[in-house]
Symmetry: C2
Subunit: 237 residues, 2 copies
């Protein structure tokens, strides 16, 4: 029972010790760490082993290296947040409201960067909680005439994420998001069964292919306090 502290590899020990020195303030942001060779002697390790520990800290965003000079502690960014958003709500059902081709309004034209005469496919759906109350409403738009039929399936994934989020298994596109607050207008209030003027959280998403083509645009309106977004920033431990 004496030395059960034997599993941890050496590079990980180096990583952990340096890491805690950063968190307890022994190394402050901007300061330089001991050189690789110093760490080699301090930890009785080879240089590559030391470098492996440092690499972990670097990947984690805690340090960076200035070649030929040394390693430095990063200044933490408290303004970048990781936010999780899915259209899926615990215990809720999704109801497809309408699917049809249409001409884009101005907002959709801008979002998809298309002309007013370019037909788009519009998908509408509602998210309904177990009590039967509508908590979210989404509209999604795809350009109709598309050159790449191979992308069809992926677009379906993008459009039906509730069905396919776990299967959205391609690197062919990425997403950008915009979060804002809007008041329900007459039409929204009607379809979402809420009051006119009621504040809604609006989450817009742009589906962008790696070739920079815009492949889809989605509007997601959420009743409050349902569907608030949560996120984290900074480093823990």
């Amino acid at each position: 029972m004496p030395k059960t502290t034997k599993k941890r590899p050496l590079y990980s020990t180096i990583y952990k010790q340096l890491r805690s020195k950063i968190f307890n303030g022994s190394f402050l942001p901007g300061e330089m760490l001991p050189s690789e060779s110093h760490l080699c002697t301090e930890f009785h390790a080879s240089r590559e082993t030391v470098r492996k520990g440092l690499k972990e800290l670097e990947s984690e965003g805690l340090i960076y290296s200035r070649p030929k000079i040394g390693y430095f502690v990063c200044t933490p960014r408290h303004s970048d947040f990781t936010v999780n958003f899915t259209e899926y709500f615990e215990g809720c059902t999704t109801q497809y409201k309408d699917i049809h081709g249409t001409l884009p309004d101005e907002r959709v034209q801008k979002a998809l960067d298309i002309s007013p005469s370019q037909v788009v496919i519009e998908f509408e759906q509602l998210t309904i909680n177990p009590d039967g109350a509508i908590i979210a409403y989404s509209k999604k738009y795809l350009p109709y005439e598309r050159a790449h039929p191979s992308v069809e399936n992926e677009l379906n994934y993008a459009v039906f994420p509730d069905i396919t989020l776990p299967k959205m298994d391609t690197y062919s596109m990425y997403t950008s998001i915009r979060i804002s607050a809007v008041a329900a207008d007459e039409k929204l209030a009607d379809t979402m069964q809420c009051d006119i003027g009621e504040p809604l959280l609006l989450i817009e998403r742009f589906f962008i292919q790696q070739d920079d083509c815009l492949a889809g645009y989605a509007l997601f309106y959420v009743k409050q306090p349902y569907g608030q977004l949560n996120g984290m920033s900074g480093h823990r431990l």
Copy 2:
């Protein structure tokens, strides 16, 4: 002029080639990559060099390794977004409205996990754009009786991020965030000079010390369409 392709280190070439095979679909999510030794012979590289290339892909979240089995392509997560939020708005000024001790209302009690009798310090400020219009209003709360005077300065950083964001240079705390939409009530409409019922984006932040103590709570109301939040998800290139 023939071979100017000479600067790139070998491990980086390995990384880039595997990466593009992931992005063009040669390797699909869930699939296994060639083994390290295969890659060694394919690229005429030593094992550690191959591993270095693989490590890059792993750090980037494109692949993961199942020890003793092989490397696999990750399934991309299209539901995690990186969002940037600062209280600073281009060209805007900040006006301190009020600073005083007070008893917390229910919301603040919950946020800071304190009792109703625990005094808190309340900071209020307004963000004003060049035209003189109010575009944001924030309220921040700090528990008054604090055990760690050494944290004082950091709290000031947390409370006055406009002054100190670039100096918020500690790993002693991290932040959690909540985004929602609210309607301006009478009081908000008054201080923000907007209509009652006008939709506002509300960004709440919780400042949490590494020892899990709650060090601060901030409410940030933003008029629309100012201060929308933008984010990204997925991998580009």
